[in-house]
Amino acid sequence: MNASDPQPPAAGGANPAPAAHRDGALQPPVVSLRGIRKAFDGKTVLDGLDLDIRHGEFLTLLGPSGCGKTTVLRLIAGFEQADAGSIHIDGRDVAGLPPDARHVNTVFQNYALFPHLTVHGNVAFGLEMKKVPRGEIDARVADALATVQLAGYEKRRPHELSGGQQQRVALARALVNRPRVLLLDESLSALDYKLRKQMQGELKALQRKLGITFVFVTHDQEEALAMSDRVVVLDAGRIAQQGPPREIYERPASLFVARFVGEANVMDGTLLHVQAHGDAPANCRWNGGTQPATVDIGGVAFRVRAPAGSHAGQAVAVVVRPEDMRVYGPGEPLPDGMAHFSGRIVERTYKGATLDSVIETSSGLRLIASEFFDEDAPDFDHPLGEPVRVSWVADWETVLPRDTAGAR
């Protein structure tokens, strides 16, 4: 396909035409889910899910237990059939296609390694099914095991391996088939903290190196933010928000996302005044579609940026991350004219890199502030009961309308 190709740059999602666009951004999605509905025993699990998975991306499905993450993977892999909607893999409708006829492979949560086969036998299984010649099987198995740093373990049985090693075998067993998409269901959750961190890095590096599309499922928000190109937050079978990790964290679209991804102070307030339009300050994290406004929270008026279309008198929730909170002790001067709450420290937790304090304001709010030790304040401390003033970095809040916030 050359540059003078007359075809319009149709959005991949709207037009899943197979092989029409082979270059870069115009490539159609590898997997495309449209209006997927799935119920078990009359209980709706997925409710009209639309999702496009782009080639080579590391996509994470994030959500609380039971929100339907595994079900999405099982639908893509072919272990379940959707009640309604369509799934296209590489532009081909896979309705009714059994798992063995789909170009995707799964790394199961508990690995599901074949206990009666050796490591070699496990990894070779998929190639044997495809009737690949023996010599090539051996070469590719050796290659896959080297990729996951398990060369020399060919003759072991799964039960003779540690959890991390089993995890790598499961990965090699899937990767050796060179799938278009690799589905990973909570693949790291059975590992201990340190190994999990290590495998997160390795998995990400592997994905970059091989260029295979990864669809990763987790309920660990930290893991999702650390690994993904794109995070899809699921809430009860619907997409609550999707976007790059940073956007999910810094611009939660709903209270559910704000609370589920990271910690958040959620303060109820009422908009006092909404300015028609204005230029966002330079340090504002986001300025698309917002309006300067004043919000009353427990009798204190703060200047915030409210979503477009807000009006005075509207009930809103103001969300601020603990690390964006600022705490001023009795002796510390407050920047000029900064709106703040007064309160006292009711809890403090030393976390190593940060000091987490819980402040109870005079209006009865409980706020969490996470402060870093740095060269300016290597040994600050807030004794319990200390009277403090709290505020947050200007414009680093997210204002959400109360009605959508009440959804969950």
Binding site: A77, G78, F79, P98, P99, D100, V104, N105, T106, F108, Q109, N110, A112, L113, F114, P115, H116, F125, G126, M129, K130, R157, P158, H159, R173, A174, N177
Partner: protein, 257 residues
């Protein structure tokens, strides 16, 4: 004191359990036809056994029947266990419940109902009716044995095989079957033993032209005590013991976790 008591109790229990077998074992080598006293060692009862064509015939019949019934029961039972393990279908719960009912049904009830059935259907009593009857009482054992082993394995294993490109049948053959094999063999051995020493059911459903060993022995003993029977019983015991040991070994084989 306590230790001595413990030894005494254990010895007492063992004596109670195994004395009859020991007596049988000893008398099969006793050189005396009627007396209960020890008259010296002999193998002549074993020779007499080999020279009794009726008995040898019955023994062959029994073994053929046991092999056939065990094989049929194992094949059907394995398929049934795989179906129970792998598929969720209507009536699945009642099916497994019914299997346990069959497991607990007294032989005599089973025997009479089978006889009724054969009479109603006009099935002539003989090898065929015996096979059907023996398969019936062996089947629950094979299903339960194989199912118990399968249910210890991650249900995702078959899915993993499918995911890697195996069709449903290949996934069963390459994954479920090797995993279930020890239980399949154990189920076969169990069925073989059950069939070999069944008296009650066989008594009701066998015909004159296909006599099985336990019934032959029974009629021999009824007409008077024969030392050959001791020899035969000893042989049967040794055979059963070997089979039970084999099945125990297979079942106990450590499950890779």
């Amino acid at each position: 004191m306590i230790a001595a008591l413990r030894v005494a109790v254990v010895a007492g229990v063992l004596l109670f359990l195994y004395l009859p077998l020991a007596v049988l074992f000893a008398f099969s080598f006793n050189d005396s036809k009627y007396s209960m006293a020890w008259k010296g060692f002999t193998l002549k009862w074993y020779e007499a056994l080999a020279a009794n064509p009726q008995l040898v015939d019955a023994a062959i019949h029994s073994v053929v029947l046991a092999v056939t019934a065990a094989t049929v029961a194992t094949v059907i039972g394995t398929l049934g266990a795989v179906a129970l393990y792998r598929y969720r279908f209507r009536g699945r719960a009642s099916l497994s419940g019914l299997l346990y009912v069959l497991l607990l049904t007294p032989d005599i009830v089973l025997a009479i109902s089978l006889l009724c059935l054969f009479v109603v259907l006009g099935v002539s009593l003989g090898f065929g009716s015996l096979v059907i009857a023996h398969v019936t009482f062996c089947l629950p054992f094979t299903v339960v044995t194989v199912y118990a082993r399968l249910s210890g394995f991650d249900p995702r294993l078959v899915e993993a095989a499918r995911d890697l490109g195996a069709g449903e049948f290949t996934a069963m053959r390459r994954v479920l079957l090797p995993l279930a094999l020890p239980a399949i063999v154990a189920g076969w051995l169990l069925s073989f033993t059950l069939s070999l020493d069944d008296v009650v059911v066989s008594y009701f459903v066998s015909g004159p032209e296909y006599e099985v060993l336990p019934l032959r022995i029974y009629s021999m003993v009824r007409l008077g005590f024969k030392p050959e029977v001791n020899a035969l019983a000893t042989l049967l015991f040794v055979l059963s013991l070997a089979i039970v040991l084999a099945s125990q070994l297979l079942l106990r084989q450590r499950r890779p976790s």
